[in-house]
Amino acid sequence: MPSLAARSDREGRSLLSRPQKATDAMLTSAHLYPAEGRAIVRTMKRVNVPGWLFVVTVTLLVETGVRAFDYEQKIATPSSTLRALYGALADGTLSGEIGFTLHAYLEGLALAILIGVTAGLLIGSSRTLLDASSVVIEFLRPIPAVALIPLAILFFGPFGIAAHRFVVVFAAVWPILINTIYGVRGGDRMLQDVARTAGVGRVGRLFHVTLPAALPSIATGIRVSATIALVVCVTAEFRTGAGGIGNYMEDQQFANKLPELYGAILLVSLLALAFNAGLRIVQRRTLFWSGEERSAR
């Protein structure tokens, strides 16, 4: 990574030097685990008993500490948080909010994937397009998506899903775009030449050579984006009055309902974990042929 940055800087290429390719390190500590196992036995062995014991211990300490020092006005106890979350889920208060959040989130993410991968494939496979788009990308990319929330409210109004979707797309598109460009440019030139010699046309090469080679990189970009997008989506809901888990959180804060507030925090965190785990599984199942997975065998 550093050597790549140094090299591209020397060439005066700024687009590829600064926007970092998203890596797993930005997302999870997946590398802390041993290589992917084959059998359930290995999965069982990998269950981290001391680690989860530590989580339980901390939770119990917080529970007793908050009760003992009578701090319940400021920190909800884990038990009351769980009870409040279970209650809100069971009586359906939260289902509408979850649906609202997921709607904006998934639509925005899908749009971002569509835009990011398409543009990334085009930009990555043409030096001219890369040059042409570099300044515009460098200009737009550093703008924090959350700073666009007030603007999105102006554009789309505070009560629709469109404002959230816009912010989600803006936040999610960059990791996907940059990773797609990296994936395309990092592809084996030999394969391209072989395909060309074999008479495969431009479009054929794009779908049968370029895209498959870039897929692992694209997948990582999507996973990074998926996490960012959920956070941005909830943040946008916090500012607008349309609904969603973020909106619910704001309501609970104003009503001073601590357990409900902490329950919503827990819910968002669980959603983030679930999406990340789900995408990891999809990536592992579909990209088993890629370098990383193969070297694990």
């Binding site: 600064r18 001391p50 040059d131 570099s134 300044v135 550093p142 007030p150 102006l154 973020g246 974990l273």
Partner: protein
Amino acid sequence: MKTSAARRIAGPALGVVVFVAVIGVWQLWAGAADSFVVPTASEVARRAWEVWPTSDFLSEVGQSMKRYAAGFAIAAAIGIALGLLVGASHAARRTLDPFLECLRAVPAIAIVPAAILILGLGDASRIAVIAFGLCFPILVNTAEGVRGIPLEVRDTASMLHVGRVERASRIYFPAALPSIMAGLRIAVSLGLVLVIVSEFVGERNGIGYYLILKQSEFDYPALYAGILFLGLLGYVLNRLFLLVEHRVLAWHYRAAGE
């Protein structure tokens, strides 16, 4: 086919031309649409020129940057220290991993209400939010850097009975520095996001609050100017950090043959 020398000049030039063209299209389109939600590029530029040098605006930026710096420093200290621990000790890694993974999944905005309840509406809660969010990329990258240290180096250190503290400060830290810097670089950009998020509620100051204020005042050109400023600020901070990184890691690039 152009030569690479021609490319080196033509490439960036093309980028600039396209950029100017995009601005031109914006100007013409906004002028034709005549919608008050979309000011023209020239109007935004004029407003930016008016707003940016004012002491009001700069004091908001100053407030934000103060908290940004404090949050960044705290996150770096905690992230690097915990990262060294988690990277160096297998037991610490196993014990802390699920806990840190759970904490890491908590979105920063979700921390805001809780931080305000515990730390009040002032700077402390905002700095806590920023530090919380920035901690994890630094931690993970530090741990990864330490894990990447060749086994021979670790074994040699333990054979020579190098003490824990000295091992961490004189072997693990320098060896993991390239990776640590990568984590800090992520934190530089992420920090701006967290600054804005932390200012959406609570006391009325900072650049994030400024954006909300301008939104509620329907001062669109100023809102655009504020967003533009954030983009430029992010760009400049990133560039500055790259300069620092190249200085700090000069030995590493030399060793890597660059």
